[in-house]
Point group: C2
Chain length 358, copies 2
């Protein structure tokens, strides 16, 4: 049976990426060696790393604009720490927008490094909306936000302009929509949503902002060290980077971020229309902040219908739509590689439940 | 043509590990999903993580002895930082043995955290031997050493006992030989030699030693956080951990560390005997400190014979034996998965060169 993978991350990647990765695990670039055993210093892998860094910038329309792309390890959670180490000055302060669990984790790591202002938060409302009524202080070293909140199904639609560096965790919606990415000074993203498998993180940095904190930065956390070593300060996650490159190549072939954006919009429209139409369901996020990546919704009457609904979607081959424990209900993640046909299957199941209960 | 992969890391893994990984990239555990797209919270992957942590302890004979095994990201270089954060007390000091580039990198990261004593170093001799004439101070928070020095082809054969915690970077020889691992308080290793692909790090910790520094430790660097979250504080490197589990299972099936140790000894004996016998070659490391993992050697007359020797080994399908730039010459890495047949091919090529020049 075909599985419709709505998992929140790690998540579905393009089928051709799986096929090509499997081939490379057996024989990479016709070298007779596996991608799992080749040296990261081999000519073939150095070419992979260079193309991946270059293509990431190209897809974000940031080539030739003073940005560097890095492929590091540790997930976005490691960048929660690298950010203050590299950008929060001694005795400086930083501003954070608190829009969910991961935004909060970023705030926690920064606190040890200096004054960390939470300038707005929707925590009291269980992060069901994106705060908009705030202004970014002009005396902070940077402003940090989280573009998409996987757990709560919210997404920042408009990014405020300001005079301070703008740093954004785009783990769960990078490469999914067009933005003026040059508004951002640092963009980082764990690969395991729209870019590749778990185990590698993309960090895109406006290079001129580095080296200004007067802080002793450990080598492994120092962006300047990683830039100087072209993401090979230590052994990179070879295979995860290769799979990420395959995914970026797939996206480029498809027409890039602009092309995927309309596909993502169509998928989100299809599902949210059904959530709003079908009297058995309701969405959990504020309508204007709804994420195009993760749709969170509840049964209006969980006790009465959960068992039946769960049986229906399981029978349809749907996987990974149980909601996060902090929201409950359901979460359908519709990342780049998820075909609209899978969303249609879910919508059909929702309609089927309605029909059965009539 | 069959490739004989002597690469220093990433390096050869067992062929059955490649085959099984490629299968899982297409269809993991018959789930219909790729190992690259499954949730790290899925039952099937949680079982992988648990078995990998358990098997790592079992193979080191550390089960039930108060140790925890973690699978983290960032390579050994990230542990260079986690070690002082977790074990170097405020106003404390640590002792380090300087046996090579990576040992030195560990020392550099520790220096920002407290007094870092380099109690012995072979740097002046280009790290061609393991210093033995030192004693470990009793007033330090820990003693740190590097069991095997990939670049220089040296390996610590005897670990000194002391009253302070013993912390060892075993990246390049873990699971290759029997040791009394319970002498060590922390063992860590980047996976990409004897355990798996690049992108995951094994850390084995005597748990009772944690939580004693009075230092504010960032969450992502805090071993106690990772232990409490069973290596899932953030999304782990799913696929790299799965491949590591396959390699550990292969090792167990083979008879464990004791069984592989004699195979490794036979391979090392075969190659070093030829290096010592063949008048065209010489080893670079002190004989008593020679690594069973990485044999470093030079042509006695590089200018005269390099071209011919290089052509010979390339024609024989040998890959990855160019020496590191800081030593020059050749380095044959003979990790667990390298068959003795590959070493025999190299030895035959060395003999062939001798014959041709007669």
């Amino acid at each position: 049976m075909k599985i419709h993978n709505f998992s929140a991350g790690p998540c579905i990647l393009p089928q051709e990426v799986f096929t090509k990765t499997a081939e490379a695990v057996l024989n990479f670039n016709n070298s007779g060696l596996s991608i799992l055993e080749i040296s990261h210093r081999s000519k073939d892998f150095v070419a992979v790393m260079e193309e991946a860094r270059d293509l990431a910038l190209e897809l974000l329309n940031l080539k030739g604009k003073g940005y560097q792309a890095l492929f590091l390890q540790g997930g976005a959670s490691m960048e929660f720490l690298r950010i203050p180490y590299n950008f929060l000055k001694q005795n400086g302060k930083a501003a954070y927008l608190d829009t969910g669990t991961w935004a909060n984790n970023a705030i926690k790591e920064a606190k040890a490094f200096g004054e960390t202002l939470v300038i707005a938060s929707s925590k009291e409302a269980n992060y069901s909306f994106i705060p908009k009524d705030y202004s970014i202080p002009t005396d902070v070293d940077y402003f940090h936000c989280t573009s998409n909140n996987t757990i709560y199904g919210t997404q920042i639609k408009e990014f405020k302009s300001s005079s301070v560096p703008l740093i954004c965790d785009m783990s769960s919606d990078i490469f999914s929509r067009t933005l003026d990415f040059s508004k951002f000074d640092v963009i980082y993203a764990g690969a395991q949503k729209n870019m590749g498998p778990a185990g590698v993180t993309l960090v895109v940095i406006k290079e001129e902002l580095l080296g200004k904190t007067n802080r002793a930065i450990p080598n492994i956390l120092n962006y300047q060290v990683h830039i100087a070593k072209e993401s090979m300060y230590n052994t990179p996650a070879v295979s995860a980077i290769y799979t990420s490159l395959l995914t970026l190549q797939w996206l480029k072939k498809l027409g890039g971020v602009q092309a995927i954006e309309s596909k993502n919009q169509a998928k989100a429209d299809l599902l949210y229309q059904e959530i709003d139409r079908n009297p058995l369901f309701k969405g959990t996020a504020a309508v204007e902040d709804r994420s195009n990546m993760n749709a969170t919704f509840l049964l209006q009457n969980d006790a009465a219908h959960k068992e039946q609904f769960d049986a229906l979607w399981k029978a349809a081959g749907i996987s990974g739509i149980n909601g996060h424990r902090s929201v409950g209900g359901y979460r359908a993640s519709m990342y780049n590689a998820l075909p609209i046909e899978s969303v249609q299957v879910l919508v059909d199941v929702m309609k089927e439940l309605e029909k059965k209960l009539k």
